[in-house]
């Protein structure tokens, strides 16, 4: 039995010890926003925040989150109002197929929490763990800069 808080809501769950946090979110809690792109923690599609810190939920066990607080992409918007990072990805077209987008916006939120006004190099360095096959990253970087209140240099 584990107790964890996901997007502000407390849960008590019986999970096998081998259950990944990602599978727990997707299958036990029905939160399918986080995606499995690689299963080995290198593509970033499963990025969530654990006590505010960015992790790959596909290589974290659900038991590891016991007693802790998880924020997923579903927890970013407040009611109908999108998080500023989500709004920026929408406005700047920082997505195409959208499958990596949940991970991108969670990672970008973590970046701006840690470094409110990142340089372009800092953005690229932080985001290198979030693969995107569609955009070539240009509009993703642009979206993050917009969310940070910066125009692209």
């Amino acid at each position: 039995m584990i107790r964890l808080t996901v997007n502000g809501q407390a849960h008590e769950l019986d999970v096998p010890s081998y259950r990944t946090l990602l599978d727990c979110l997707r299958y036990d809690l029905g939160l399918t926003g986080s995606k499995e792109g690689c299963g080995v923690g290198v593509c970033g599609a499963c990025t969530v925040l654990l006590d505010g810190k960015m992790i790959s939920s596909c290589i974290a066990l659900a038991v590891f989150a016991d007693g802790r607080e998880v924020t997923t992409v579903e927890g970013l918007a407040e009611d109908e109002r999108l998080h500023p990072v989500q709004q920026a990805f929408m406005d700047a077209g920082g997505f195409q197929c959208g499958i990596c987008t949940p991970g991108q916006v969670v990672a970008a939120k973590a970046l701006l929490d840690a470094i409110p006004h990142p340089s372009e190099a800092e953005i690229k360095e932080w985001m290198l763990g979030n693969l995107c096959r569609c955009t070539g990253y240009y509009k993703i970087v642009e979206s993050i800069q917009a969310a940070a209140g910066q125009a692209r240099a």
Partner: protein, 767 residues
């Protein structure tokens, strides 16, 4: 960034960088992708795959696996009603005869590549399905095998298929090649080698199938081709109208979801168990078993006059099909047609062959055979320029095809070929050259141009259909079978309908990609969807508009031609308006339909005999020019792209934001191909089955790609658009190779251009 185009009609919606209708769902993670879907009582399925690249199956016993906890069914080839699946061209209703490719749904007595499916298991949980897969009792006896195209075509080579290892060949000859070389001031020879790469979409192959209440086998999956419902029906031996494919918004396709993926397996398992079934391939399976891009060996011999004018080309192409045909013969056809590039080639011979091996199968991937050839013809073009001391932009301008000129295959260029302008603009966009940041770092620049067909081969008689209808409140519904692979395909259709019918975008809903409920539109491949379905929507919208305006003209007592539809109302020249609601009520009363089905047929033609070398193969082409500035560390061989500009003539940008996205994303995929991506296959064994070993570009690896959108107004698509899905992936590898030679004098001829290969070329590594 888009250039203005003089046009007789004023556009309100088309040409605007509108926010796509799927934007909010995607950033808020509300989009239900194929793998996000679930049904009550659903089984989970897994595929047992061959560990051997070539072997006889001597024993296959499923008894123990079938008795495992939770297992609902275990299927082998014996359980498949029709185990041989023959496809012509996915999604097409015409046949291509000798190009018909066949494969086995599940291996029968023999496996021909590592990862070939052998059995299917469905169980209550995924863990149970995987455990049962381990319990299938299967014994293999390895067979002789071939892993290179040279070995495959050598006399006495082990046959991958009974028909022999030469799968297809094309030949083109035009003019007098020997006489051309005799006139040449310079002759340049090069041999180039390209590698296997993977589509590497972030969403693996996935779907859910169930038997719907009306008995229709329904499969909801990520696919570029909903018309595979016909293939599922063939394999299951049921009528085609008993299978329905619902295509989800894809998490990327890039050609890798053009052939069948999970749909046949899901259909089989749902039919055998009567229960909903889900199958999601792991990344490992996807990298192991999905078709790759064809590795090529390209030999070029090019003769040019002192002016840079090319007077002779001798080209020999050899591609690796892997263990099955899939679309290899057609990929090779694209290579053959584009082998000399967007340039005049009065004296040319092209010999192109593709061979079976026991490597992973190869098939469609963005660029589709017109990609590998760019590395050949643009490396050659640069070497010609260098040998003659001619500027890279000028040598291309000298040779560019003009309207009325012919490709080697005999197809006459009917639209503008903007190569000189594109090359000039891409080159100029690099700006002031960067100063080397250290004495051992060299900086150089390279240019590469390309042509890429858009639309299907003309003898496939391609068509698309779309239905548009008004609801009584004036809101609009668009139905079109087109799968949306992420490029904004569905959103562009809304833009076109909005433009013609004057309905605001937020009053339009679009339904796509359902073989039962949306009119069929063909595949989202071959850079054809905006061209084909855009035209179908345009046709439907214009005809619907004409229907409605006849009624409006009567109500307003004026001529229909004088009326405009803007912002949900009909406007007369004297400023009187008629609301859409009133008009629709009147249409209902007068028995005038409020909907229309538009069918667009592409210009069709008869099959071309390539050997005879005369005729039209593709409807039209999209042209591009990319320029790169790179730095090369001459102590380590490391290459870094500092600046990158990519220019394409898109005819017209329906949504400039989407067009820029295609160009930037395609260029970065092309840079991955040029510099890092490599499916490493040793003796048929794939060593790169994880994203930890198959590396694609990250945000930190790539330069800012400046997208230069040129609008000539010359395309065959709606509002004169050209296809832009595939074209931007073609030039990067050659542009970078040309820049490396500019920086260091070393000519890189093998992809990917890794630091190690550059170091060897620079003589830093000698053994």
């Amino acid at each position: 960034m888009a250039d203005a185009v003089a046009t007789t009609q004023e556009l309100r919606i088309v040409g605007q960088p509108i926010q796509r209708h799927d934007a909010r769902d995607k950033v808020a993670a509300a989009m239900a992708y194929a793998g996000d879907f679930a049904l009550p009582g659903m089984l989970h399925a897994f595929v047992l795959r061959s560990p051997y690249p070539s072997a006889r199956i001597v024993k296959l016993d499923t008894q123990r696996a079938a008795a495992m906890p939770g297992v609902a069914v275990v299927l082998t080839a014996r359980d498949v009603p029709k185990n041989t699946l023959s496809t012509d061209v996915p999604g097409q209703t015409t046949t291509v005869g000798p190009l018909r490719a066949t494969l086995h749904v599940l291996a029968e007595d023999r496996v021909r590549h590592q990862g070939e499916p052998v059995a299917l298991i469905a169980a209550e949980t995924l863990e149970q399905a995987r455990a049962a897969t381990e319990a299938v009792d299967v014994e293999y006896a390895p067979l002789p095998s071939v892993f290179t195209t040279a070995d495959a075509l050598a006399p006495g080579a082990p046959a991958v298929h009974e028909s022999g290892n030469l799968l297809a060949q094309w030949r083109i000859a035009r003019g007098d090649v020997a006489a051309g070389f005799a006139r040449a001031a310079v002759v340049v020879e090069g041999e180039y080698v390209t590698q296997f790469v993977d589509a590497a979409y972030l969403e693996p192959e996935s779907g859910v199938a169930w038997i719907d209440s009306d008995g229709v086998i329904t499969i909801r999956l990520s696919t570029q081709v909903i018309e595979h419902f016909r293939d599922v029906a063939e394999v299951l031996n049921v009528p085609q109208n008993r299978v329905r494919v619902i295509g989800t918004y894809l998490g990327g396709g890039f050609g890798g979801k053009e052939d069948v993926t999970v749909e046949v397996y899901l259909g089989l398992l749902a039919l055998k168990t009567g229960r909903p079934v889900k199958m999601v391939w792991t990344r490992q399976e996807s990298l192991l078993a999905r078709a790759k891009r064809h590795p090529y060996r390209l030999k070029y011999r090019t003769g040019a006059l002192a002016t840079g004018e090319i007077v002779a080309q001798e080209i020999d192409l050899l591609a690796d099909s892997g263990a099955y045909a899939y679309l290899s013969a057609l990929v090779l056809l694209y290579s053959t047609v584009t082998a000399a590039g967007p340039y005049r080639a009065p004296n040319v011979s092209v010999v192109a062959r593709v061979a079976y091996t026991n490597n992973p199968p190869t098939s469609a991937m963005r660029g589709f055979g017109a990609m590998q050839t760019v590395f050949g013809y643009e490396s050659q073009m640069d070497r010609v320029a260098r040998a003659l001391g001619i500027d890279p932009v000028r040598v291309r301008a000298v040779n560019t095809l003009r309207r009325g000129d012919s490709l080697p295959v005999g197809q006459v260029m009917e639209t503008h070929v903007a190569i000189p302008e594109l090359a000039r603009r891409a080159w100029a966009a690099l700006g002031t050259p960067a100063a080397p940041r250290a004495p051992h770092v060299k900086v150089g620049r390279g240019l590469a141009c390309n042509l890429q067909p858009y639309g299907r081969i003309v003898w496939l008689h391609d068509w698309s259909s779309a239905w548009i209808g008004f609801e009584m409140d004036g809101s609009l519904v668009v139905r079109c079978g087109a799968p949306d692979v992420g490029g904004g395909q569905a959103s562009s259709l809304c833009q076109i309908a909005s433009e013609v019918l004057g309905v605001p975008l937020d009053r339009i809903v679009v339904h796509v990609s359902d073989s039962a409920l949306t009119p069929l539109s063909g595949t989202t491949t071959a850079s054809r969807q905006l061209y084909m379905s855009g035209n179908a929507v345009l046709k439907a919208a214009r005809e619907l508009r004409a229907q409605l305006l006849t009624v409006a003209a009567r109500l307003l007592d004026t001529d229909a031609e004088k009326l405009e539809m803007i912002d949900g109302a009909v406007h007369a020249p004297d400023a009187r308006t008629l609301s859409l609601r009133s008009l629709l009520v009147e249409c209902a009363r007068a028995s005038v339909p409020r909907s229309h089905l538009g069918v667009y047929h592409a210009p069709a033609g008869e099959p071309v005999d390539l050997n005879a070398g005369a005729g039209k193969v593709f409807p039209d082409y999209t042209f591009g020019a990319h320029a790169a500035e790179v730095e090369v560390d001459t102590e380590t061989g490391e290459v870094r792209v500092l600046k990158y500009a990519a220019a394409h003539d898109v005819g017209r940008a329906i949504n400039p934001q989407s067009v820029e996205g295609q160009i930037q994303g395609g260029a970065v995929q092309g840079l991955g191909y040029g510099l890092m991506e490599d499916v490493v296959v040793e003796d048929g064994i794939n060593l790169t089955t994880s994203f930890a070993t198959y590396l694609i570009p990250t945000a930190a690896d790539v330069p800012d790609v400046e997208a230069i959108v040129v609008e000539s107004g010359e395309g065959l698509g709606p509002f004169n658009a050209r296809g832009i899905g595939e074209p931007p992936i073609g030039p990067p590898a050659a542009a970078v190779a040309n820049a490396i030679e500019d920086a260091t004098g070393a000519r890189m001829t093998r992809l990917p251009i890794t630091a190690e290969r550059v170091a060897r070329a620079l003589g830093l590594v000698t053994e």
